[in-house]
Symmetry: D3
Subunit: 338 residues, 6 copies
């Protein structure tokens, strides 16, 4: 199998028809699921799901294949360079795998690699992360700022890569970072208008409100809910993080309780996961900004993915509607002055 | 009855005890309800409710009283200077009215008059109205701006005085104007962050979204739902206003439909009154800003009315919770730079 | 490919097994969906869905096929005579198309053509339409009758062909006409029993209540929601139609408001799409008749499609139940006298 | 106390003011509640509620009063001629009772007696009952008719006097009879339009659907839910009645099951009390007619009680709205021909 | 086809790949669905579903096959020994059947037969049934015990084999018996703690509460809702059984009504199927025990089916969650003494 | 005012009629609310609510009364011996207070004092508390038992006195202790039946599940939600207690997470306050026992308060029904053997 095989994405593989049976191919793919099973004859095999940004497919690898060991070592969530032959089994793409070479962490950084594997925000994640640091610095109250700083010293690396959700809004790599930065921008823009809101508490609350998700979702490339996510939920996990670092930073008890309350109440209604209803000006403020940016994030993503031949998107579950993705007629509106 | 009787508000009248029976008093009051009834003996009488900002009480006036004719002329919603004697009937304040002099429209402007009769926003309504005009001017698209201008040429006077709701958020005189201006400020602050939103449409949508309420609520001092409000609802009434003036201003059909859609969808969910789900970027944006400012308006009002002896407000139905009205400890936070 | 190929319906095509691979066939089909796509190699192709009353299937046509241009000209919703060869791709029927000849509008009238393509009501649509005209004439009040007449002068042709729903009740060609006529019959039968109901308003309200659907649903053979349907909804669209023609017919404002109110409230509850709750005797009456005939329409359709070997229908979502389609035992009951 | 005291209704008694203290009066009243209590000093007394169609009031009678024994004998639900003196205690009407003479059953029939005590339908109950018999006779199927006849031989007398509900629609004496007759009329009017419905089953189902209410509600003048009503509910009680008499009349099992099903499903949705969803044409038909006449019954009652000075009724909980009670302008519409 | 073909279960058949096309096989299978249809050419054929505990598949048998008659005689729900050849049609297993021999009822008892065909509880059904008899005997009140005895004399055989649900908890053969015995055990364990509960009524109520399901579900191996199940529901069917045998056993009316009430209310909320809310101590008690054992039954089944490689089960709809199936660390806890 | 005045409870005071105006009285009462207000004339006064187990009333005390200082020192929640004169103001009991002597904590223990002031469980609280200690000791796992012990070393005193709810089940002094002991008894009785449940975890989970309520509710005699209760809720507060003492007792992380999960999920559904759905066998078990004992606690209380003249209780909101409080007929059932 020659090295020069150009890499195909899953959408390409699937668009091949039955006439391509047996054709060799190569792809860079994420091991999305890897389940070990035992056949009736006692042999063990893997039932696995491989995918990239454009789709995924399932196939089977028996323990007498050289690929078996490679996959076992790589594990769920790994990125592998796959070579094989196109086959269809029972009408669905089910290629025969011939080779599987895991990529080193360092290779993931090469241009175009991750971009093909997972969806990412349009803004550069390094710039987002830098802006994020600025928001922490903007918190004037020393112990409050140290509390926030402490949380991100602990979980920042995971936070940077997490999606903001499994489905729904900002459900992609760095989505949690992007959503949090967008909320902090909104917060800064609105604080002059709602002067009853304590700026430091609101900003700290925004930066911390979803940190529990960095624990709730597991795996950077193949996301699923972790044990702690199932047993405690991101609201309590985030609350616990804030509490731990607030105590460590000697934040006064009154302020810490208000900060914890923002996290506990940000989901809005108990049936959406809030532990309590928002009961401080800051908690109401953060909860409404969360709601606003979550919905606008769905709008932004639908516009990025808009089909130019179609005036409307598919139905978006988070909006309960299709979205009109075509611009209004006429010249693009100048920015409104202020 | 001497002219120098100082004016008492309803809260004062009610705090008098039975020992004050027969004491003369004078008050400036709104005729909140005026129902004509017929007694068993065939005589007609008024059962009426009088009130001011601090409360209200009911009493009865028979047609042989000089007050009867004065009230008949004044009608529901009028402001009258009442003189009478304190009486309690069946345990409740039920004064005997001796004199009722309706105030002229011009007299309502005298300092302290309206302020005692109805709740108003903390910001001056003239300044709000002027700022409102500026928002109309900020709409660059000519036909769009003329559409908005046309609507307010028709219903602006009523709009200025309307509450934004009968109960719940901004439920007081000028509340609709205040809520709309606040939303427009939020819109201006957020447009640079959500560049996919058409600025003119979003701003026009905000200015018009609740104009139907100027028709749905009737009476400036004693608010109730009008016939058109019951039979059509403010969403359809506002849509109809936009449509009429959009056609008159020759606004292109595509833009007009988007503008109408913002109004039809701003309530969010059909069960809250939306005719359709928001399906354009601008409609999602306006609907979320409406939600945010409605909740923050409840917070602001609860803080204005906060009891300094009590850390929490009463339970606020719109927030499903009591609100913590006491500030966090320490020096007031400086405004965040940036 | 000989001209004498007898026409097969989709159910027949699907019942062919893999052994028929390559067999030539011909069918009259509706182009239900026609999406233009671009292959990885840059060539454009159509992904399309073809169907008739008995089912539908998907296939692909590349731009080097003679069928490509024919389909492009015909467009979505057209009726085409297809010739091709049976093929199965990935286990599903996916015939290779060799020829596609659009039928002229006039040819659709030939006996058996439309009947095979789309479901229609059991009653003749011409008779239904004639009866419909009689209901308009039965409105005594001149301006009211002229209002209704005006609406159908504008949208009558579309109305005649529309289904009453995409799924659920009367969801087939002429279904809207059939449902409206049935409701008008019920109205006439019940007016002597509910004398508090204004006959003209009730009848006019019934004739107009769903006219917005003629705009909400687009395409006579391949139904989907139109842009106006998504952005405004049939309730508001129908209201707007009544308003326009009511003003044109100089209908008095009081009656027009009552007529509009019937349309705005006929869906019953806001969460089912009503703009307001029914608040006049006529609006309550129309709303309940709509509900009754919608449910009975589901019953009637399930009985028409009943499987004689099965006592019960499949579960009907609109009734939340299976329906017992077998008659009670014994001789058919004579009609009850009165 | 002279015999010639004219009888006052409760509304009159309540309109007396404190100046009438001690004035003698007489009234015909229903004993709505009669609770025996023991005072701290060991004496027993009655706390009772007396009322008529126009309202009710509470008072207390100690066991040393001659009225005590009379009330004890009369019991809850009795009609008594009361004499006493007007007194107000703690601001509410609380007359001192001097005499209580229970009316014999025969005296209740005297003109104007019951009419003043309880609300009744506008149609004469004797005529309704006669029409009701005609509907039973209209059932052609012998065993079916005998089933219905059997049920009313058992509970007909109670059925005639029952309200159709404690609150909501037809909630007054004879209301159950009136509602059932109205439904049967609607049934007869609609059967020619829905020929798939078995006339005998539908009519029998309507006559029986609410018979359980004759057991669920207890007391003819003072209605409350009976033990059987609380423990079984009217749906199951009605089903049991139909089953018992169906078996007795040797109705074939298939038809009996369909009849029982109409009763079990007529409430529409499980959360409104239906045991199962309607799953036969007749059950769907009866359930929708029940719904229609229940709502129209609320409309009719609101129109009967309409205040001529007010365009709208109070808010009607069953309609979730106020009702526009004023007629449309212009001459009353002639009845539609046809 | 040699007799010595070893029997394969459905999971095995499905794990065969396309290369096994034409391989002969034999299996013991349940006829889960058997629908008679007519092909376009007028020939009749069966569309059927065959399955066992490990899965099911669909296939078609034409009337010229010897298998046709065998299946016709066997009928839906029968167990048949199938021989045939592996084929895949349109990508799914669709074997060609060559022989079908129904098993006699007696053969079903052979070791391993039923166990492979249907899921059963871990406890032996004979032991469960014997324990069940003991619970009946434990009812001291003679008529009450005779009532329960009477019901199981009538429907005991069906009851023993029924599942407790189609999906959800205890949804397998003997599941109804197992669930009822478990509830009776809980009842016995808790009666000393809730002495206000009448032991006989509670126990009788538990034994009878779900007996209607023995009628609602039809077929012992292929479960579906029966006509009576659809038209009356298991709550009413169970109530009717209790009533019939209570009257026969001359149970006093008061106790019978309480027993019926337990059955009518055991589903808890009307929207879950309760005819009325629980309104006696025994009814509340039984309803809560039902709830507890239903949920614990889901837990027990998920633990039995736990995948040792996976800490969590799949999401269980009845618990709205995945279940942690791994034990806590450390030595197994000794039973708590008391 | 003589010392020998016998003490009256609130129900007695309210049963006095207007003729008793001015009569001296004495009562032992709880200060339920104490709000400081300022009159128009600048004088400060108390608006207060006084009550005992039988009811409460409001009155006013000005700062020139000797009672003013006494109340100020006593504070909200104190028990005071009140002397005064009966007065009615505006129709309601509003006595003039002459003397207020706070009781020392020690005096509260005197026989009959607390029993008259607050409702308590029928079982002796000391015995309940001792039994509670035994349940802690029954936890075999050392660190688990030390965790539970640690929590009650911290909040045990408050826990002992707390109600289990403000309204609803076990809503009285010691109610939380009683409910928890009852649940632990049920747990012990059921563990042998559900062997998949870890006994130590289940028992520890039960003992701790509601400990957050000891913080959520404030005040032993006048209960209201505390600041921490409003801002965090009892679920999170209890979780935090368990976490703190689990870490302190070096409980292994796996077991601690399971213990925390029981607390976080015990409310069952997110809309009832659960942070997550129960996802371990122990969490499902505890949640269902909580539900069972909560409902049975409402039954027990209704039976204790049953009116012998009335077969049914008032409607109990927690059961959505009235409760049949009369026993079944016949001799009391012997305890079931076995």
């Amino acid at each position: 199998m020659p090295e020069e095989l150009s890499l195909l994405i899953v959408r390409d593989l699937k668009s091949l028809d039955a006439g391509q049976h047996g054709r060799p191919f190569a792809s860079l793919l994420v091991v999305k699921k890897l389940a070990s099973k035992t056949a009736s004859n006692g042999n063990s095999f893997f039932s696995l799901e491989l995918g990239d940004r454009s789709g995924s497919f399932s196939c089977t690898v028996f323990n007498d294949s050289p690929v078996f060991e490679a996959l076992k070592l790589a594990g769920e969530g790994a990125v592998v360079r796959i070579e094989g032959k196109i086959e269809f089994y029972q009408g669905r793409l089910s290629p025969r795998l011939a080779k599987a070479v895991p990529l080193a962490e360092s290779e993931l950084g090469a241009p175009g690699v991750l971009d093909n594997l997972v969806e990412t925000p349009p803004e550069d994640q390094h710039a987002l992360w830098q802006e994020f640091q600025g928001f922490i610095d903007a918190i004037k109250h020393d112990e409050l700022r140290m509390t926030v700083r402490g949380v991100f010293d602990e979980i920042g690396e995971t936070f940077r890569w997490s999606p903001a959700a499994v489905a729904m809004h900002h459900a992609y790599r760095h989505g949690l970072l992007e959503h949090t930065v967008h909320m902090a921008r909104v917060c800064q823009a609105l604080l002059p208008l709602y002067t009853e809101v304590d700026p430091g508490l609101a900003l700290a609350g925004i930066l911390l409100h979803d940190t529990g998700k960095a624990i709730e979702y597991e795996g950077t490339l193949a996301t699923k809910r972790s044990r702690r996510g199932i047993l405690q939920g991101h609201v309590v996990l985030g609350y616990q993080l804030a509490r731990k670092h607030g105590i460590r930073a000697k934040l006064d008890a009154d302020r810490l309780e208000r900060l914890e309350h923002i996290i506990l109440s940000h989901q809005g209604e108990p049936e959406w996961g809030a532990a309590v209803y928002a009961a401080t000006p800051e908690a109401v403020f953060v909860s409404m900004i969360d709601n606003l940016d979550a919905k606008m994030g769905m709008v932004q993503r639908a516009l990025r993915q808009a089909d130019p031949n179609n005036e409307f998107s598919e139905r978006l579950p988070g909006l309960s509607s299709q979205l009109l993705t075509r611009k209004p007629p006429g010249p693009p509106p100048e920015q409104l002055p202020l």
